[in-house]
């Protein structure tokens, strides 16, 4: 009997070991699975951000040099007229792109929300541009907006010879063509987000307001839109990072021209780093872009996290 009892204890010890391992696995499997990608992100995102940051404080030209030179590259950067043009363009393009996309997207969503026939098809049509890459959008709009090929030529062909629409070849207006193409691409996506949120609005409140005699426009303005605040915020964050990293749209649509009148910071960074052997200067401009993104994202994250805590 006693030998059996000892055997049983051993068995118990074994099972308890197994249990411990199982327990440990249960709690840590998720961490184990995430670990490799976490390590990759750590090196290839944050590691390289740090590397870029350090490079921006050096006089690196063709190859990186690691002797510290302080703010030398940043002082140079802010003396360069093309950088100022790029920043101004970012403000114009970013501002208009975000505002127009949100307003248009919201408006489309409200119109589609009226339980109209063929909503499915319309929704797909508006959302479809999002599936196209910016290179394709840029190339297509380049043809449409080219005065010799596109709209202007078409109007002249139809007999309206005084028609003029030559923003693409006008240094002062070229940046607005980027807004047109960008809005065309992104507003459908914004619409989809708003539409999803509109469908989530409590119908009882609306009915109650309706019974109280509020007009449709008043219901939307005072009741529905304020409840959509999180959607406004998310679309703002998504659109603003799209705007700041815009690169391919410029390459395809305007080529940065006429002259360098429609370049954006990302194009400037590429030009300096990879074409002109100015790695240090390119890194400085990349860090300025990162700072811009941080200026938008950090307050957003802060407000989101704080709300969760209180909630």
């Amino acid at each position: 009997m006693s030998s059996i009892a000892i055997g049983q204890t051993k068995q118990d010890q074994k099972t308890s070991m197994m249990d411990k391992v199982k327990d440990w696995l249960r709690w840590n499997t998720s961490k184990l699975v995430v670990a490799p990608s976490f390590a990759l992100v750590l090196v290839f995102v944050y590691g390289f951000i740090a590397w870029t940051g350090y490079t921006s404080f050096t006089k690196s030209k063709m190859l990186p040099i690691y002797s510290f030179e302080g703010l030398y590259q940043y002082i140079r950067l802010w003396k360069l007229p093309p950088w100022h043009v790029a920043i101004e363009n970012l403000v114009i393009f970013g501002g208009l792109f975000i505002i127009v996309s949100i307003v248009l997207g919201c408006l489309l969503a409200i119109l589609l929300d009226q339980r109209i026939r063929g909503e499915g098809i319309l929704r797909t049509i508006y959302l479809y541009p999002m599936a196209i890459s910016f290179i394709v959008t840029g190339t297509a709009w380049k043809w449409i907006l080219n005065p010799g090929l596109g709209i202007e030529n078409l109007m002249h062909g139809l007999g309206w010879t005084s028609f003029e629409f030559s923003w693409l070849v006008d240094p002062d207006m070229a940046v607005y063509t980027l807004v047109i193409a960008g809005v065309w691409q992104a507003s459908g996506f914004v619409m989809a987000m708003f539409l999803a949120a509109l469908r989530g609005v409590d119908q009882e409140i609306i009915k109650a307001a309706y019974l109280d005699g509020a007009s449709i426009s008043r219901i939307y303005l005072v009741i529905i839109l304020p409840t959509l605040r999180p959607v406004f915020l998310s679309s703002f964050v998504i659109l603003s990072h799209l705007a700041i990293k815009s690169f391919d749209l410029v390459v395809a649509l305007t080529g940065g021209g006429p002259g360098y009148s429609s370049t954006l910071p990302a194009n400037f960074m590429y030009e300096m780093t990879f074409r002109r052997n100015q790695i240090g200067l390119g890194a400085a401009s990349a860090i300025m872009m990162l700072a811009t993104v941080m200026a938008i994202i950090v307050p957003y994250l802060y407000s989101e996290l704080r709300e969760k805590k209180h909630g």
Partner: protein
């Protein structure tokens, strides 16, 4: 930025794999050749070199990087060198050769150069480009001439004009064409094309010494001088001779305008000839080539292969063999017939080359003897990337705005100083 870096690392790992595979075969001369000649005549030209190399017992490892202009290639090259694993031969040119040589990454080719007598067959300007500290580190492949006018003689005949031989005559002819409703100059509004016209005007109005002082020595007084103001005045006039839809147009589309008679002339390097020939146009009949107005000047653009410091005897032997073949008469003829350029060396039979190429060869000799041969700024021969870029910024902004010539020269001097 991060996405690009990630791609770079991936490319490095991939490329490392290719080299490891190549190192397996031993003893036979091996060359891994990094280049961006991936389209049309250029691809054919590279294939000719590969076949020649293999016929001499070599092993060719092709490493083409698509994406014109060599930006993509530059990124690959940088990561390869940083990871201590450079390719055998790389297509780089102009001051980039000097910059790489300064880092100590390039191999010495003096042995082959002495055996083959490069000092005797290469024009002195070209020797300067491919030598660092008195030693050969690269091999020139060809010579392109930049300062050409490509004209449609039938269109010019409509206003009773020929190809202009002075800038004043150029302006007169252009005014006449404009009055007749014809676009005088086909042009694509991209910074490098603006700069191509700009440098031919600098050579034409300022002369070769002025050109070198401005673009090679980067002398501030020269950049701000009255002559440079005149250059910008002429650029302002030229701006009036292009059609309104020029921004962003590719150079070959501009060439097409001359072919179809929509425009009378184009100022472009001799790669434009390839477009005319590919469309079945006959030189002298459908199109004519003439140098842009200057006093026997010649703006040279040249492609070359730089040889990197590599490990292993097979790769070193491959380097020597490749260098010898590239400057050999046979390859110089085949390659340049495909590419539309002229041979980099003297003494290649000229009977297979067309009239434009022969004229280019003759003018090159005259210019070289008169010291009026200059390296192109717009195509990165005389001026390194950063400074070239700074000049392009000002030239293209002036061309696309109503900036005065006085302001342009001040901006030019500032931009060049800032880029140093």
């Amino acid at each position: 930025m991060n996405a690009i870096l990630r791609k770079l690392t991936a490319t490095t790992i991939l490329a490392g794999g290719i080299v490891a595979a190549a190192a397996g075969a031993q003893a036979e001369p091996t060359a891994e050749v990094l280049h961006y000649w991936t389209s049309g005549g250029e691809a054919k030209a590279v294939k000719a070199l590969k076949e020649d190399f293999e016929a001499h017992g070599g092993k060719w490892v092709d490493a083409p990087v698509a994406g014109g202009g060599g930006d993509a290639q530059a990124a690959v090259l940088r990561s390869r060198v940083l990871s201590g694993n450079p390719p055998t031969a790389v297509q780089i040119k102009g001051p980039n050769i000097q910059e790489w040589a300064e880092t100590g990454a390039l191999a010495n080719l003096d042995k082959v150069a002495n055996e083959e007598g490069w000092d005797k067959v290469l024009p002195p300007l070209l020797q300067k480009i491919v030598k660092y500290d008195g030693h050969y580190v690269a091999v020139p492949v060809n010579i392109h001439r930049v300062d050409w006018i490509w004209a449609n003689p039938k269109v010019l005949a409509k206003v009773g004009a020929g190809v202009p031989t002075s800038w004043d005559e150029f302006n007169e002819t252009a005014e006449k064409l404009k009055a007749a409703g014809i676009t005088p100059l086909a042009h694509g509004g991209q910074p490098w094309q603006d700069a191509t016209i700009f440098e031919t005007v600098v050579l034409g109005i300022g002369g070769a010494d002025f050109f070198n002082k401005a673009f090679v020595e980067r002398d501030v007084d020269t950049l701000k001088s009255d002559t440079m103001k005149k250059v910008f005045d002429e650029m302002r006039k030229i701006r009036g001779y292009v059609d309104p839809d020029f921004p962003g147009r590719d150079w070959n589309l501009a060439t097409g305008m001359v072919m179809r008679g929509e425009a009378a002339m184009q100022i472009m390097g001799d790669w434009a000839k390839g477009e005319f020939l590919a469309a079945g146009k006959k030189p002298g009949v459908d199109f004519v080539c003439a140098p842009t107005p200057s006093d026997h000047g010649y703006i040279l653009n040249s492609d070359s292969f730089a040889m990197f410091n590599v490990q292993g005897d097979d790769q070193k032997a491959g380097q020597d063999l490749l260098a010898k073949l590239i400057l050999g008469e046979k390859f110089q003829e085949t390659f340049n017939l495909y590419k539309g350029s002229i041979p980099a060396r003297i003494g290649v039979p000229r009977d297979k080359f067309d009239d434009c190429a022969v004229k280019s060869m003759d003018d090159l000799k005259v210019a070289s003897d008169n010291n009026t041969l200059v390296g192109s700024m717009a195509h990165e021969i005389s001026t390194a990337g950063a400074i070239r870029g700074a000049i392009l910024d000002v030239v293209t902004e002036h061309f696309n705005s109503d900036m005065s010539s006085d302001e342009a020269v001040v901006r030019l001097a500032e931009a060049v100083e800032l880029a140093l």
